[in-house]
Symmetry: C2
Subunit: 386 residues, 2 copies
């Protein structure tokens, strides 16, 4: 039977999205704006022109709740039919925030897939528990750094990776600007860096992992990820803002790869910039990354080179670790100008179930990079015992 023969009989199941409506003063305004979202995100058609009651009743979003949040702000909970989101992440995101991303004053603050829609997504393959098991670390935050700066050649970067692994860093990632430049080709870099980290592991008995950056053209991501796997890389770094959220999901879902994924926030800053529009930090860096299979989510922590506040960072932690469609918790990875001196404070704020990413400051501690890494790790161990 083809779709043409079937009357529109959807399941009646719905998933929900919560929006803040800025610049909204009265209940009437709020109701009108919420109804507008219900139409815009589904039929994108004037209500009175919808050609059938079946479409009006079964396709259009519905306002489940509407509450004032202050003088000029309301919160709307809108429920969409699960079938509208189809069975694909691209359309799910479109339904949550496609066209209304362009309308001022609407901010998506969280979403809840419910059971049947959540079951369509695998989520993180490893999550916190899986990544801890791979690393053999249960009792402290994971420590992470990047090989940098851009301009070093693969041999020099491999030497860096070796010393970082020797110093005890758990996750050694490519700087996210390292892709496949002529002065630092992907294939050679990955071969050299994986070999260097393996050599260090043999010497230390450790389990450091190197994560190459597979953010790449659409037709090239798969090849780079397979090359990384063939080299026994320890995971993948990926920038969903540059190469697509669903491309990350495809990597995470690939049973032939089965590598942990560290998500990087490049090019995503605009989504959280306007307080009355876009996405909350929790939705962007927590929920969407988790839905798309990241095992750890890098974000610029409060108190660094960027401008997120402590509550915004807390929102990310909550979304990365709170209940969501049965998915495992993933690691929050506060970064962006963190320093070793701040380790105790960072662990007080983020707890032990985080991954601390320190870049430049590891190099600023003195000429002996191995010693600097050991200092970082010692600081993490000490603060974790307190």
């Amino acid at each position: 039977m083809t779709a043409q023969d079937q009357p529109l009989t959807l399941s009646g199941e719905r998933f929900s999205a919560v929006y803040q409506l800025g610049g909204t003063h009265t209940a009437t305004q709020a109701q009108q704006r919420a109804l507008d979202i219900c139409l815009e995100q589904t039929v994108e058609f004037p209500h009175h022109l919808i050609p059938s009651a079946a479409i009006r009743d079964q396709i259009v979003g519905e306002v489940a709740a509407l509450e004032p949040l202050g003088a000029d702000r309301w919160e709307a909970v809108i429920r969409y039919p699960v079938e509208v989101a189809g069975r694909e992440l691209t359309q799910l995101v479109n339904c949550l925030f496609g066209n209304i991303s362009i309308k001022p004053g609407i901010r998506l603050t969280r979403f809840d897939l419910g059971e049947s829609l959540g079951a369509l997504y695998r989520g993180p393959r490893f999550g916190q528990a899986g990544l801890r098991a791979l690393l053999g670390i249960q009792d402290r935050p994971i420590v992470c750094t990047a090989i940098k700066p851009m301009g070093l050649n693969p041999r020099e970067l491999a030497d860096l990776a070796y010393r970082l692994a020797l110093g005890g860093i758990d996750l050694i990632k490519d700087d996210h600007g390292l892709t496949d430049q002529r002065f630092c080709p992907f294939d050679e870099r990955v071969q050299r860096c994986t070999a260097a980290v393996e050599r260090a592991n043999r010497e230390t008995g450790g389990r450091a992992r190197y994560l190459p950056n597979v953010t790449a053209p659409a037709t090239e991501i798969g090849r780079r990820a397979r090359l990384a796997q063939n080299c026994d890389a320890g995971g993948l770094l990926f920038c969903p803002g540059l190469a697509g959220l669903d491309a990350m999901r495809a990597l995470a879902d690939d049973d032939a790869l089965a590598l942990p994924i560290l998500s990087h926030p490049a090019f995503q800053g605009s989504f959280t910039l306007h307080p009355d529009g876009g996405l909350t930090h929790g939705v962007l860096y927590g929920q969407l990354n988790r839905l798309a299979g990241a095992d750890a989510t890098i974000f610029p922590s409060y108190g660094g080179r960027f401008a997120f506040t402590a509550p915004e960072c807390r929102d990310i932690v909550d979304a990365a670790t709170g209940p969501m469609a049965g998915f495992p918790s993933i690691f929050p990875v506060p970064a962006g100008g963190m320093g070793i001196a701040r380790v105790p404070e960072l662990i007080r704020f983020y707890g032990r179930d985080c991954c601390l990413l320190i870049g430049g400051d590891l190099h600023a501690q003195g000429a002996d990079l191995v010693a600097n890494c050991r200092g970082f790790l010692a600081a993490v161990r000490k603060a974790s015992e307190e």
Copy 2:
């Protein structure tokens, strides 16, 4: 010779990006913020720790100009080495606006690839001239609409497409929320709609084209595009904000497809929302779409359901049609609540070299959709002669 053996000897060629720096009062502040961008977007490393003069001189961005724009705003022109952007769109975008998207007060207002970097990108395959040739229309704006609302089955949508083509609409696109829902499967919809538009063309002698939406999971985009082509679809609709800008480029560059591409702005609204951050309308909807191979760019026009201003729309037109790396001009497609009554005014503003997209209002003119389309076309013809 492997990269390890080579000293860092880049070409010295650079490409440029122009940023507005908000909340910046003094020349000293402006200089500091511009230098910060130079580091953040390349080495992401403190300047004094950069391990060699070669990297400092050849990799780090350089400030080419710095001018005040008003009391608290400066414009910085920054030049990056072409090799930093590599040979891939994902890294080019990362270099232009990756990490600094997360820093408040930085807005990318335009970029210029220069000759050697521009030559790495094919840009639009058809552009305005190519699409006009396919349609056989030289003297008036192209007219476009969407099949909608979601909830209709493929047979009903095909019937709509037939009537729209019969009424003289040039480009008949899927509503961007139509993907591959069970109630409207992609394959059946595309087969029926292409057949319906062909039937109408045989009756009218016209050249209407149906453009299915191939916004899809990363692993599925290629299959849907090939199916569209096998059905003789007239082009592709794609949402780069949902499925990735480079995924659009891959479609545009695919010689085996060779179909015109209409870009849709879903999920991209946050990029332009904050006046002191993100991307200008011209960069987002004009330059980036053109660079990634769109032949026409849909955006919400001033005076519709959304909130773009006339100058913002002018910025898109300029970026879609002005000189850029030798790429052909592409069609601006003002949309988002346009009505037939506004056709003369829209043509006065956008000129004849645009594509007018009217959705719901075509259905609001009366029960006879074919007559409504003819009315739309007549209004466009009349206003084009004035």
